[in-house]
C-alpha cells in the first residue's frame, strides 16, 4: 500500500515537472496568463471595496476581511486544481477522441494520469493571488493563515471531483464540455465568492449538496472566525464522499469507453 502511494507520488512529481517543462516552451505566454489572472481577480476586490466605501466600511454585518477570505480560500482551491490537476478539464476530450487509450495502456491509475496530464499556468496567477490576499486577511496570524492555506488546498478535492463526474459522463452523453464549464464557472466558483448570509435556505441546501460551494468557502470561513475545528471533519467527510463518487463514476465510464481512431499527440 505504502509502495503504491510512494510510486503514485513520484509519478505525480514527475508529471508536474513535465507539465512545467512543456509550458516553459512558451515562457512569455505563461507569464502573461498568470499576470492577467492576478489582475482579473484584483478587479473584483476593487469593486467590493467601492461598495464597502459607499456603505461606510460595512455591508449588512460583514466586514471587508470577510470579502478578502471569500477571494482567498476558493481562489486558492481553484488555483491548486487547475495548476496541479488541469488535465481534468481534458477528460471529456480524451474520452470523445479516443485519447484515453494511451492512459489506459500505462500501469498507473488512469484518473491520476489524466488529471496530472496538463497544467494551466493562468491558475498560477490565481494561486499567488489567493495566497497574497490570504496573508492580508490573516493579519499575519500563522494559525489563521494555515487555516486559509489548508482549506484552500482541500477545496480542490471538490473541484476535481465534480469536474471528473461531469466530464466522465461524456461516455454516455457524448460531449459535456459546456455543462462542466458552466457548472465550474457559473455555479461553483461564483457561489463560492459571495457571502453565505445573502442566500435563502433553499439555495443554501443546494450549496451544501449539489454545488459544494459551502465546503470550499463558507465552512472554512466559519473555522477561520470561530477556530471551531469540528467543521473541518464535516469538510473532510463530504470531500471523501465526493471523491469516492467521482472514482465510481469514472470507473463505470471506463467500462463503457469505446475508444476512437483519431490521430492524436500528447501535449
Amino acid at each position: 500500500m505504502l509502495t503504491v502511494v510512494k510510486q503514485n507520488f513520484n509519478f505525480f512529481i514527475q508529471a508536474l515537472k513535465v507539465s512545467i517543462m512543456s509550458a516553459m516552451e512558451y515562457k512569455v505566454s505563461f507569464l502573461i496568463q498568470a499576470v492577467f489572472m492576478f489582475i482579473n481577480n484584483g478587479f473584483f476586490l476593487v469593486f467590493w471595496s467601492v461598495v464597502f466605501n459607499i456603505n461606510d466600511g460595512k455591508l449588512q454585518d460583514l466586514e471587508f476581511d470577510y470579502i478578502l477570505l471569500l477571494w482567498s480560500i476558493p481562489v486558492i482551491s481553484y488555483g491548486v486544481t487547475y495548476f496541479f490537476f488541469g488535465g481534468v478539464t481534458q477528460l471529456n476530450t480524451y474520452i470523445i477522441t479516443g485519447q484515453m487509450d494511451s492512459f489506459m495502456l500505462q500501469p498507473k491509475n488512469p484518473i491520476l494520469n489524466v488529471i496530472t496530464s496538463k497544467c494551466y499556468f493562468s491558475a498560477c496567477g490565481d494561486l499567488i493571488y489567493g495566497l497574497v490576499i490570504g496573508i492580508v486577511a490573516s493579519k499575519y496570524n500563522i494559525i489563521k493563515l494555515l487555516i486559509i492555506i489548508i482549506s484552500g488546498i482541500f477545496g480542490s478535492v471538490f473541484y476535481v471531483s465534480t469536474e471528473i463526474i461531469l466530464r466522465a459522463i461524456s461516455v454516455w452523453l457524448k460531449d459535456t464540455e459546456n455543462i462542466a464549464n458552466k457548472y465550474k464557472d457559473t455555479l461553483l466558483t461564483t457561489f463560492s465568492n459571495y457571502p453565505e448570509s445573502i442566500f435563502s435556505k433553499g439555495i443554501k441546501l443546494i450549496l451544501y449538496t449539489v454545488v459544494p460551494a459551502g465546503y470550499i468557502s463558507f465552512l472554512p470561513i466559519k473555522i477561520f472566525y470561530s477556530l471551531d475545528f469540528r467543521f473541518s471533519f464535516i469538510i473532510i467527510a463530504v470531500g471523501i464522499l465526493y471523491l469516492a463518487a467521482a472514482i465510481l463514476v469514472f470507473n463505470k465510464a471506463m467500462k463503457c469507453y469505446e475508444s476512437g481512431n483519431s490521430i492524436s499527440m500528447k501535449m
Binding site: Q14, G98, D101, P107, N113, S259
Partner: protein
C-alpha cells in the same frame, strides 16, 4: 502460450439519424467469435481492410476496451481485470496515437515513460542509452518530439514502447505514412527485437510488404470475423505471389498482345501487367516490355489487401 483468445466478441451501439430529432439505435458487431492462440516469439500479422475489427481486437487485447463476450488471456492475465499488471508486460505502439510528449525532448519523454513504469532513475538512463544504440537514435535524444520527422518519431515511439522490456509488443500500423527508407528501418528494428529478445510481436498493417518482410503467421479479419489463419508461406504461395507492373511509355505504343505475360489493362502509353513471381522474374518482364518503346516510368504494386480477401472468399466458395 502468450496470447489465448476464445470466442471474443465486441458490439457497439450506434445511432442512425432518421430526421432532425429522431434516431434509431443499432448494434454493430465489430468483432464476432474471434479465437486464436499465439506462442512466445511468434511474429503475427493481424490484417484486414478498414473497419474489419483489427483495432477493436487489439484494444481488447491490451485492456483499453472491454469485450462484450469471450475470454482473453495475455501472458496469463485477463486484460479487463488485470489491466495494470498487464501493462508492465506489454508494449504498445499505435501509429495514429503518440505516447511521446510533443513539447518535450525525446529523452525527457522517455524518462517520463520510464517513471510511469516505476523504473529506477539509473535503470531508465541505462535502458535509454541501450535502446538508442540499438535503434541508432542517439542524435535524436535531445530533439523536441514535435521537431522530429514522421519516420524518426515512429522509431522513437517504438523505443518508448519497449523501454520497460515487455514480453509482447502490439504494433498498430507501425509504418503508416512512412517513406520506403523509414519503413525498412522500422522493419529492421522489429525483427531485431524478435531475434535478440524473443519478443512476441502482434502487428496490424495495411501494407502487404510489411507482412511479407516480418511475419511468420497471418490472421486475416474481415467484418469482425477471422477469414484466414495460416503461415506466411501458405499465403505467399496462394495469394501474395502476384505483382502488378504498371509501365508508362514516353510515346503511345500500339496494341501489345503477348502470350508470355497477362495484360490487365492497356491504354495509350500505359500498360498494366500481372506477374506471377513464383514462376516469372520481374527483371525479365521489364526487359521484355522495354522492347516496345522508351519507358518513362514504372510502378510495381503488391496485391491490395481487398484483393487478397476477395481471393480467400473465392477459394472458400470453391472448397
Amino acid at each position: 502460450m502468450m496470447i489465448n483468445v476464445q470466442n471474443l466478441s465486441k458490439d457497439f451501439k450506434v445511432s442512425k439519424k432518421l430526421g432532425l430529432f429522431k434516431k434509431e439505435n443499432e448494434v454493430l458487431h465489430a468483432v464476432q467469435n474471434v479465437s486464436f492462440k499465439i506462442e512466445k516469439g511468434e511474429i503475427v500479422a493481424f490484417i484486414g481492410p478498414n473497419g474489419a475489427g483489427k483495432s477493436t481486437t487489439i484494444k481488447m487485447l491490451t485492456g483499453i476496451i472491454h469485450p462484450t463476450s469471450g475470454n482473453i488471456e495475455i501472458d496469463g492475465l485477463n486484460p479487463s481485470t488485470d489491466r495494470k499488471k498487464l501493462a508492465y508486460n506489454i508494449g504498445c505502439m499505435f501509429g495514429q496515437k503518440s505516447q511521446l510528449y510533443m513539447h518535450l525532448s525525446v529523452i525527457d519523454s522517455l524518462r517520463l515513460l520510464g517513471s510511469i513504469y516505476d523504473m529506477p532513475k539509473q535503470e531508465i538512463d541505462l535502458r535509454i542509452s541501450e535502446i538508442a544504440e540499438l535503434f541508432k537514435i542517439e542524435h535524436l535524444l535531445d530533439k523536441t518530439v514535435r521537431k522530429l520527422s514522421l519516420g524518426q518519431r515512429m522509431i522513437c515511439e517504438i523505443a518508448g514502447s519497449i523501454l520497460h522490456s515487455p514480453d509482447i509488443i502490439f504494433l498498430d500500423e507501425p509504418t503508416i505514412g512512412l517513406d520506403i527508407v523509414a519503413k525498412v528501418r522500422i522493419r529492421e528494428i522489429i525483427l531485431k527485437l524478435n531475434q535478440e529478445k524473443n519478443t512476441t510481436i502482434f502487428l496490424t498493417s495495411h501494407d502487404v510488404s510489411d507482412v511479407e518482410a516480418l511475419c511468420n503467421r497471418i490472421i486475416v479479419i474481415n467484418n469482425g470475423v477471422i477469414v484466414n489463419d495460416s503461415s506466411i508461406e501458405h499465403l505467399k504461395e496462394t495469394y501474395l505471389n502476384k505483382k502488378q507492373i504498371q509501365i508508362y511509355y514516353s510515346k503511345k505504343v500500339g496494341n501489345i498482345i503477348t502470350p508470355k505475360y497477362s495484360i490487365v489493362n492497356a491504354f495509350e502509353n500505359k500498360i498494366v501487367s500481372e506477374i506471377d513471381t513464383s514462376k516469372e522474374n520481374i527483371g525479365d518482364a521489364l526487359t521484355y516490355f522495354s522492347s516496345f518503346g522508351n519507358i518513362s516510368d514504372i510502378q510495381i504494386v503488391s496485391t491490395p489487401m481487398e484483393e487478397i480477401i476477395k481471393k480467400i472468399y473465392e477459394e472458400r466458395k470453391i472448397v
